[in-house]
């Protein structure tokens, strides 16, 4: 195992400039009259440029944590900071604007719009920014080049393989040049070869563009690519594992 355990208490010394700070968050859902705790007093810090993996069994709270960091949900208590923004206090409208500029999303099932071409799918988040058509074209082309799909830019999702669709998803995630990319099991719907290609691409994105990536995964091979892996169980952080070569990449 190329991963080495590290204690939670050591994180502060490793992350002098964290981009994500989750401070003592608590999250529960209500099912009828029953209150279900999903995250319990969780504190996490993610330094800029880190590739972080989130693992844990179903119901451990990893996707909920991802939602909170991405501003898709709000904690019941506690704070979530991304950069200088206290996103746990933002309104729905503020979060929408913030997500456009600051977060790139990669989904397990790609979630590309079937009626749009690869180009148009990648262009979608740019429509929300004050950019000219020429500026949008330049950014979309660059993103598609980075994922090696420029020659397929006018294909619709139905005309692309799963791996190619996920590459379009990655291009869409990076096209606005966000500071943080969140990925929800990005290889969960792919065969081993395609999954490996996608993970290679994510590593490239992190290296070339210096992006911070937070990835939820069940796949140990995907987790191996991360600099650090947080293991959650029953809403608590039970293990914080740092890859031996982390920081040397």
């Amino acid at each position: 195992m190329p991963l080495a355990s590290n204690s939670l208490s050591n994180m502060a010394t490793r992350n002098p400039h964290p981009i994500v700070r989750v401070n003592g968050i608590h999250k529960y859902f209500k099912r009828g009259s029953e209150k279900v705790d999903v995250l319990n007093d969780l504190t996490v810090s993610v330094p800029e440029g880190e590739f972080l993996g989130l693992m844990g069994p179903s119901g451990s709270g990893k996707t909920t944590l991802l939602n909170l960091i991405a501003g898709l949900d709000r904690p019941s208590s506690g704070e979530v900071w991304v950069g200088d923004n206290l996103i746990s206090q933002m309104s729905e409208s503020q979060l929408s604007a913030w997500r456009t500029r600051s977060i790139g999303f990669i989904f397990q099932f790609y979630h590309l719009l079937p009626v749009l071409s690869a180009y148009e799918n990648v262009e979608l988040p740019l429509l929300l920014l004050p950019l000219s058509k020429a500026q949008r074209r330049e950014q979309v082309t660059t993103a598609l080049e980075l994922v090696s799909l420029k020659d397929r830019m006018w294909h619709r999702p139905g005309q692309l393989s799963g791996g190619q669709q996920q590459r379009v998803g990655i291009a869409r995630a990076i096209v606005t040049d966000p500071q943080l990319i969140v990925a929800d099991e990005p290889t969960g719907d792919l065969d081993a070869k395609s999954a490996s290609e996608i993970l290679n691409l994510l590593e490239e994105v992190r290296k070339i563009l210096n992006k911070t990536i937070i990835m939820v995964t069940h796949d140990p091979r995907a987790a191996e690519r991360a600099d650090r892996v947080l293991h959650l169980d029953k809403g608590r952080l039970i293990e914080d594992v740092v890859k031996a070569t982390a920081g040397s990449a």
């Binding site: 898709l72 456009t100 989904f107 979630h111 929300l128 939820v216």
Partner: protein
């Protein structure tokens, strides 16, 4: 505008459903346009003017009104016989002459019949609604037609639609075989046409010609024509204000000259309303039941289509939100789809309705054959071209609002639906 492409592509997502929705919209807009065309025309006819309005004199107790022509000259003076009596500003007599250009009765139909106003030609320019305030250019052209009818008492002026239906052109001479003036068939020459619009289906002949034909009938047969004593259908008076109208009405209704048959004088709109009275329930039903029911149905058709569309792509809408689309932008996208379908199909429908209804056979119907009072057929007004898009867009907006609000409220966490 940046989202227009997205809206259009979403409409094309399920082409069959979009086409069916558009066809449903077009059909319903077509029916509403027909109904509104009739109601709008009647509204105009029944609305009172504040000044320079017209009074209508008819037989008091009978519809259709049939008065002796000997009433005409006195009525046109407002029955002013004594010093101090008030006279109208202008006047016009109407005799209805109906016939067909087809001699064989068995072959008579809408394509060859003709109902003409028999009147003093100059009154076309001064007393007929909408013709008395034509734009200068149109007035000059129409003035030539009126002059031609004055100069040639055997002349006839036709509306464009009627002209095309009868397949006649200016200069053609033909015979009208009468339907209500038995044995008084008139040979006429087409000398001009009405301006495009309200009078597309109308016809006008010189009253002197009809009167002379009745005289000729009497000379030939040794007795007056059966219609001789009841050929005056209406008399129109133009008055400056309601006080003058009241005075003239009093003069006419108190005059012993008009005792058999008795006459009544009222505002034009009241007179028309009396003609329309037998159709009151039908018109009420059209206005307050049929048209609203169609609009509600139209809203439901669009609501159903948009609801299905939203339900099918909840996760896509959630993805849009995740990417940063604001709730109101999602709302706008969904409403935009509905409004675009509604407005486009409404526009197509109203254009087709205008053409199909107004164009003469064989290209169209030559007007809505809905004979009420002395209105033989109704044309679709030019204004109806915006009724369709407005109707389509309006009902689409109403119908799609609830599903669009549902789309706006989609939870972004639905794309990460697992509580992992």
């Amino acid at each position: 505008m940046k989202f227009l492409g997205l809206i259009v592509k979403n409409i094309g997502r399920n082409a069959i459903r979009s086409i069916l929705t558009a066809l449903g919209t077009m059909m319903l807009v077509f029916v509403v346009t027909l109904v509104w065309a009739i109601l709008a025309f009647l509204n105009v006819a029944l609305s009172e003017k504040n000044a320079n309005f017209k009074a209508i004199i008819t037989e008091r107790w009978q519809i259709p009104s049939q008065m002796p022509y000997t009433y005409a000259s006195t009525l046109c003076e407002g029955a002013a016989t004594k010093p101090g009596d008030v006279r109208p500003m202008d006047s016009m007599t109407w005799q209805f002459y109906g016939g067909s250009i087809e001699k064989d009765r068995a072959k008579r139909g809408m394509n060859n019949v003709l109902f003409a106003f028999s009147l003093e030609p100059i009154k076309l320019l001064t007393m007929m609604d909408d013709l008395d305030n034509l734009p200068a250019g149109q007035a000059a052209v129409f003035g030539k037609s009126v002059k031609a009818l004055q100069d040639n008492r055997q002349g006839i002026i036709l509306g464009r639609t009627r002209m095309e239906t009868l397949k006649k052109k200016i200069g053609d001479t033909f015979t009208i075989y009468s339907m209500n003036y038995k044995e008084i068939d008139l040979e006429v020459t087409l000398v001009g046409e009405f301006p495009e619009g309200r009078y597309n289906n109308s016809a006008a002949i010189n009253r002197d010609y009809l009167l002379a034909a009745m005289d000729a009938y009497q000379q030939k047969n040794g007795k007056p024509h059966a219609m001789a004593n009841k050929s005056l259908n209406l008399v129109w008076l133009k008055v400056p204000d309601s006080a003058t109208l009241s005075k003239i009405a009093s003069q006419i209704e108190s005059s012993p000259l008009f005792s058999s048959p008795q006459v009544k004088c009222e505002t034009a709109s009241s007179g028309i309303a009396a003609f329309i009275e037998p159709y009151r329930d039908l018109i009420w039903g059209m206005r307050y039941l049929l048209a609203p029911a169609i609009l509600v149905t139209l809203s439901l058709v669009i609501s159903n289509s948009i609801s299905i569309s939203v339900r099918e792509r909840r996760s896509e809408l959630a993805v849009l939100k995740v990417l940063g689309f604001r709730p109101n932008q999602i709302l706008t996208l969904v409403l935009g789809e509905a409004i675009l379908i509604g407005a486009l199909s409404g526009l197509i429908s109203s254009c087709l309705t205008y053409g199909i209804v107004n164009f003469p056979p064989p290209y169209g119907f030559g007007g809505i054959k809905f004979p009420i009072a002395f209105f033989a057929a109704f044309s679709i007004p030019l204004a109806a071209l915006w009724w369709g898009p407005a109707l389509g867009a309006g009902t689409a907006l109403v119908g799609s609002f609830v599903p669009a609000w549902g789309a706006r409220s989609v939870k972004v966490s639905e794309v990460f639906s697992r509580v992992g």
